[in-house]
Amino acid sequence: MSRASSTDENEAVKPPLPSGVVAFVKRDCPTCELVAPVLEALAKRVELTVYTQDDPEFPAGVERIDDTDLSVSWHHDIEAVPTLVRVESGREVERALGWHRGEWEALTGVADLGEGLPDWRPGCGSLSVDPSRAPELAIRFSGSKLGARRVEIASQEDEQEAFFDRGWTDGLPIVPPTEGRVLAMLEGTTRAPDEVVAVVPPDLAPCTVEKVAINAVMAGCKPEYLPVVLAALEAACTDEFNMHGLLATTMSVGPVLIVNGPIRNRIGMNSGKNVFGQGNRANSTIGRALQLTVRNVGGGRPGEVDRATLGNPGKLGFCFAEDEEGSPWTPLNTDFGHDAGTDTVMLFPGEGPRTIVDQLARDPESLARAFAVALRSMLSPKMVMAFDAILVVSPEHSRVFRDAGWSKADLLAKLHELTLMNGDDLVRGADGIAEGLPEWAAGKQLPKFKPDGLRVVHAGGGAGLFSAIIPGWANGEMGSAQVCKEIKK
């Protein structure tokens, strides 16, 4: 918890310490128990004031001041107990942490302290910095640094129902965003709560770090996920990604987040078994936090600006990590010009994943052909170049390419070649299907994908000869471009 007690504004409300020697202790600390007789002896020799944090009856042999509300400890930045402070004319001049005979003797000017005790014993953590207490204390004593409107929920009222009723959820329960939880969330970033992260469509509302943190709490994120959510929101709100269009389209798409770099492992993301599925907190909540922010701050709600005909379950939040360690290829973020090892989040405007089954291919040509047939039929077998796609290759499939020495570029070149379409098959009415391209396409060879329209990502469990396609929607300047953003703390 960032502390504000040393700032000028807090000096005014800081409770002064009495002159002489001041001690901070708690009963639930063996070192404090150990030095209780020392304090009793000191009380006879110097002006001694003892503040006790947990038990007002402790220590027995001296007069104590009850600091169980921790106001004095918090304001004076007590980090450990016992702490001994020497105060002259209301000002602290010296401080000793834990029990150290030499330091205590120097600080108090009293010799031969603690006969029979060891020379040195470390202390325990002060209750005023206990993680379970610190957020609440910071709010109580420093005043809140948060600007969001307070919503009071009556004690008889259900918090979940109150949030549902206001239209602030995605239909699933949320973690109630208390001030303590939001402050703890903000510890996940070095950015100031009032910094504007992005202007969020469709309402084009400026969104602060604090508002992202509130929605991240609601989504169930841990503080260490917050930098990913912030970077994802920045990416989503670029003109290139076109979040407004992604909402407004009647197609099924939503933002798909793919995370690269060491942060994947640091925050425990899943890039392996059941990679698109449930069960991993980071995967499940980071995408949800982005979608809740778009909904609540940007006003992007289904049935309003979100006009999806069918939508897809991934619109609750669709986020996963690339399996870089097990991949035969360079990581996805290097395809966007980032150095390998950089923490990034790539936003893809995609729908749900569809599986490609091929359990017999043992040579790369055959497997590439199986991929290509599935890719050609994606969204509509009669349309080309309008939609991008992510091909997610699992370990048992990637092994086939690894063994044959195919780089990612080799695979992509082959897939572009195998997805060249004959225009005669694509024109309106061809194959008995009214949908299709105008007559100009007849007689031409047309690529299914634009040059950078197909991306390859490595992910999934170690067993199973399956890969997957995540199809996109209108691509490039006409719709949404893929955006890969560095994640900064």
């Binding site: 948060l146 969001a148 409107r149 307070r150 919503v151 009071e152 929920i153 009556a154 004690s155 918090e159 109150a162 949030f163 602030w168 109630p176 965003p177 208390t178 001030e179 939001v182 969020v200 309402d203 509302a205 400026p206 969104c207 508002k211 509130i214 929605n215 609601m218 003109d239 076109n242 407004h244 269009g245 407004a248 389209t249 809740l292 609540n296 701050v297 940007g298 006003g299 209108a474 300047e477 006409m478 719709g479 949404s480």
Partner: protein
């Protein structure tokens, strides 16, 4: 009582009065905005014919792509040049 934090933008939507409806079309300038959806032009061609028959002057505009809001400069251009605008959707 529990105190929670508002997750929204907390913005009060700006209320703006709608422009006055036109009583007659004679001598008025009507903008036709093609949002770049397929066959929107066919729909607008028909509309233009009908409007011109009724004595209106028609100016045609087009958005670069239907997936994004009209650029602010285009919106301003229409607002300054026209008495009314029809924005066409088609597929």
């Amino acid at each position: 009582m529990t105190t929670l934090l508002d997750p929204t933008s907390e913005r009060v939507p700006a209320e703006r009065a709608r422009a006055a409806r036109l009583a007659i079309l004679e001598g008025k300038t009507v903008g036709l905005l093609d949002i770049a959806k397929a066959r929107g032009d066919i729909f607008l061609d028909q509309l233009e014919e009908r409007l011109v028959e009724r004595g209106a002057e028609v100016i045609r505009y087009a958005k670069p792509t239907f997936t994004k809001p009209a650029p602010i400069d285009l919106r301003h251009e229409i607002a300054t040049q026209c008495d009314a605008v029809v924005e066409a959707l088609a597929d």
